[in-house]
Amino acid sequence: MRLVASGSQTVGPYLHIGLTWLNTDRIAGPGMKGERVVIQGRLLDGDGVGVSDGLVEIWQANAAGRYAHPADRQQKALEKGFRGFGRIPTDARGRFRFSTVKPGRVPGPGGKLQAPHLNVTVFMRGLLKQLSTRIYFPGDAANAQDPLLHRVPAARRSTLVARRRARGVLEWNIVLQGRDETVFFDF
């Protein structure tokens, strides 16, 4: 049997009703190993205005580079209670903020390691199908060799790399349109 994947539809303006119960802005609890980091930013529309009815979801590996998922069969430690998922609604000014640990490197195409990254899915009213992107870490030497960053035109790579704002605090914005438009992936 060959079926066809169902069509996507927007989350609409009332997404919070169904999705808030799973909001998680602390992805890694106190017992998790790794370098602590807070990531904050804004979701900005084509006029540079913050999107107040958006939602950001994060999926990440732990500090050892292991996903809490049965398809990850690497022999790396996985802390009990680590899920690696975040769901953060934007506020009235389009801001979002979450805390986590910097993930370790995970294998990419051909078994070559990828640079540490967070996987991001974006939803909002006015968006008929989710957008997928990634957050990379500033100053990480592995970024230069990352197979996905390499797919991105050099001039646009910086949209995927967070900026250091303070010790342990990074800033990363999602820009939907314009000169600094964030790179979105089609997997």
Binding site: S6, I17, H69, R83, N119, M124, R156, F185
Partner: protein
């Protein structure tokens, strides 16, 4: 040669475009540059795992979440979550939200002049069983006006959110009701170019699950991206 994890890409016409002028809010909220085609890696073929412990049995009965029963027509919505291969997706989270029978959401952004129902929040969730089946008991949501264009009304719908086995199988969609005259006037429904693909978002009347003297039933199967039939090699 690197092995591809081989989740199928979407068939042409089965997914909405990001820029769809009939739905006015897409204008400032769609990417203007082409998406960057990227290989599927471990990061995409894994995803958050939720289980039966994450939900309570009452979470899937939207008519039993308050002291009294909500106003409206009680309905049963059930179906299966499947991969494109036809294989069921067992033990996967399904989240829903919807308006009440009067077409009103209990949300600060909803200013529609229709009554709220103190006995209806309109949110539910469940985890599919070993055969990929899910069921919700709820009330039939009302249609409601929105300001996209003159005299714009949303057809009755229930929002669905699913994860599937991987972050790349994530799906948010809407279930519609058969015979709704508003469907072909609705920018969201019409944003899916292929008519057959659109119709798959319309539930079917389900006599088999109808409970005599109690509730009508609707069936809504959801298909998530699946893997290619055989693993493929790519350069």
């Amino acid at each position: 040669m690197a092995k591809s994890y081989g989740y199928r890409r979407f068939l042409r016409g089965t997914q909405p475009a990001y820029d769809f002028p009939f739905y006015a809010s897409t204008a400032k909220r769609h990417p203007t540059r082409p998406l960057v085609i990227a290989p599927q890696t471990l990061s995409e073929i894994t995803g958050p795992v939720f289980g039966h412990d994450d939900v309570k049995p009452t979470d899937s009965d939207l008519t039993r979440q308050h002291r009294g029963e909500p106003i409206g027509e009680r309905i049963i919505v059930s179906g299966r979550v499947l991969e494109e291969s036809g294989k069921p997706v067992p033990h996967t989270l399904v989240e829903v939200w919807q308006a009440n029978a009067a077409g009103r959401y209990p949300h600060k952004a909803d200013r529609h002049d229709a009554p709220l129902d103190p006995n209806f929040s309109g949110a539910g969730r469940t985890v599919t069983d070993a055969r990929g089946r899910y069921q919700f008991i709820t009330i039939r949501p009302g249609e409601y006006p929105w300001r996209n264009h003159y005299n714009a009304w949303r057809p009755a719908h229930i929002h669905f959110s699913l994860f599937g086995r991987a972050f790349l199988t994530r799906l948010v969609t809407q279930m519609y009701f058969p015979g709704d005259p508003l469907l072909t006037l609705d920018p969201m429904y019409m944003s899916i170019p292929d008519a057959k693909a659109r119709r798959r978002l319309v539930s079917t009347f389900d006599l088999e699950h109808t409970v005599p003297e109690h509730a009508l039933a609707y069936r809504f199967d959801i298909v998530l991206r699946g893997r290619e039939a055989t693993p493929r090699e790519r350069a």
